[in-house]
Symmetry: C2
Subunit: 307 residues, 2 copies
């Protein structure tokens, strides 16, 4: 297997679908996941363990995890906002559980009816349950609204640092900073990643950027320059946060792979195959907009992926 | 007048319109230019002096320059691909003349029926004519297809350096590197700007990026980090090159201003007023697509421009 410089985590089956007004059939989700796996994607967030009443789009996450486990060398991530979901995730055979902690109290209360520090307490319970289960499951603290919030506006860096520190004390294995609503700018990304690295060290592993205001890839560049080597993205730029209005559109996986491979950074992903995979979304989500530039414009003449 | 950290050059009336299948009436061009001036834009490329038969969209450039000269503190740029056009530009009262030199021989021959070195000879004549006229007009060598070409594919960095050197010998005042077709990536931008700076020093002043493949703002960031403080952009991301198929869409002015101001870099441009200016394009170009994210998504809650 060839070496990889930057890891791309496809989060479309979770972040891309949870905000849609339709439920993607399980078979389509599995087709999509299998196609991205065949294109070389090696980590996929396949769903979230939340009450089906709240997010019917995610009701089949257990089945999707079971399918994903049949694909070789695929790291399966799921999201769980509470202990109950995390236990389901562990039981189902997830390799990584992302626990979202919104730094903005307004967003957190509206999203999960808990304050950020109450979420950290839940996170501590999840880490403890994981330890007791003996399962080799990574617990990632995902700090959402870390760069701003549609309800609170600016989110102070010091608040992010305080929550990050609390998450580390709670026992997480890794930490991600997320621009849930597309408010971040490259200077802010650089500053915040550097400050959080100061307290989290190598446990700060990942960046999650939305392209809502067009700065997604510029923000990836800024985080990359601080040493981050793992980024979330969604095929066709699907995505958004159901509780943050206007926050549509993650960084598009294919544009991100194009940028990194153009720069000579290996992702392990076959870009032509990845772009083909959009057809599955076009069929499964008729009439829903897909974003991203490279699929529309085509690869540059003579383009070659990183060797 | 407040200090400015990064200069934005609106090139929409030239690069944004030249590729359209309609001719924007002179009155609309003037309205657009006046509105951007009122929003704080202080350099606008208002047209190009080319044969009207080739580019009817630019036939009124003389009139547009005359109007623009009535706006206080506005630096008026025009494009001229040959001596005849440059003489018209000088006579009309242009403050800056951009002379496009395509580094790719294929693109150059198809675009102006001259090789790159023949274009440099024309550039030398233009510089000489400017000197003899005694006019204080800046001559900028704009190296197009510097990052790749839809016809030739990759464009070697050494070719760019060779042409840059020849342009400097020809007597230019300033040099711009242009990603005419949206092929550039941030690593390439950094490398090429640094190498060209090595021979051009402070005469390398400007970056011109198309967003065809979504990397426009990431490329701006890379050039900014090498010390570039002037960028071309078009309102609503209008644009393209008539001889480079699929090369639609400059970096959108409003997204660029949003990124820079978010980072605390002053552009001198009132972003809300600038976004309002899109309405003029919507009225004047019905049915033609406008691009850009910030106008669609809206400014972040509590957003303030750089102080």
């Amino acid at each position: 297997m060839s070496k990889i410089d930057v890891e791309i985590v496809e989060v479309g089956p979770r972040d891309g679908l949870q905000n849609l007004d339709v439920v993607m059939p399980t078979a389509d989700k599995c087709r999509w996941i299998a196609a991205e796996h065949a294109a070389g994607v090696r980590e996929i967030e396949v769903g979230s363990f939340v009450p089906p009443k709240l997010l019917p789009q995610m009701a089949d996450t257990g089945e999707v995890v079971a399918f994903a486990r049949t694909l070789p060398n695929l790291r399966i991530a799921t999201l769980a906002p509470n202990l109950r979901g995390a236990l389901d995730a562990i039981k189902g055979g997830t390799h990584k559980i992302g626990v979202p902690i919104s730094v903005s109290p307004e967003h957190s209360l509206s999203n999960v009816r808990k304050t950020p520090m109450q979420m950290v307490e839940e996170l501590a319970k999840i880490c403890k349950a994981r330890d007791e289960s003996g399962a080799a499951v990574e617990i990632e603290g995902a700090l959402s609204t870390a760069f701003g919030c549609t309800m609170a506006g600016a989110v102070p860096e010091d608040d992010v640092l305080r929550i990050a520190e609390a998450c580390l004390r709670a026992g997480i294995d890794s930490l991600a900073l997320a621009d849930t609503v597309g408010y971040a700018n490259p200077a802010q990304v650089r500053s915040l990643f550097e400050r959080v690295r100061g307290i989290a060290g190598d446990k700060l592993t990942s960046g999650h950027f939305h392209d809502t205001r067009g700065l997604g890839l510029a923000n990836v560049m800024a985080a990359l320059e601080t040493g981050i080597r793992s980024f979330d993205a969604t095929l066709g730029g699907l995505g958004g946060c159901p509780f943050a209005p206007g926050a549509t559109g993650n960084v598009s996986t294919e544009d991100l792979v194009f940028m990194l491979e153009s720069m000579g950074l290996r992702t392990g992903i076959d870009l032509a195959k990845l772009i083909e995979t959009r057809k599955i979304l076009e069929q499964a989500l008729p009439g829903r907009p897909l974003y991203g530039s490279i699929a529309r414009a085509g690869l540059p003449k003579g383009f070659r992926q990183a060797a």
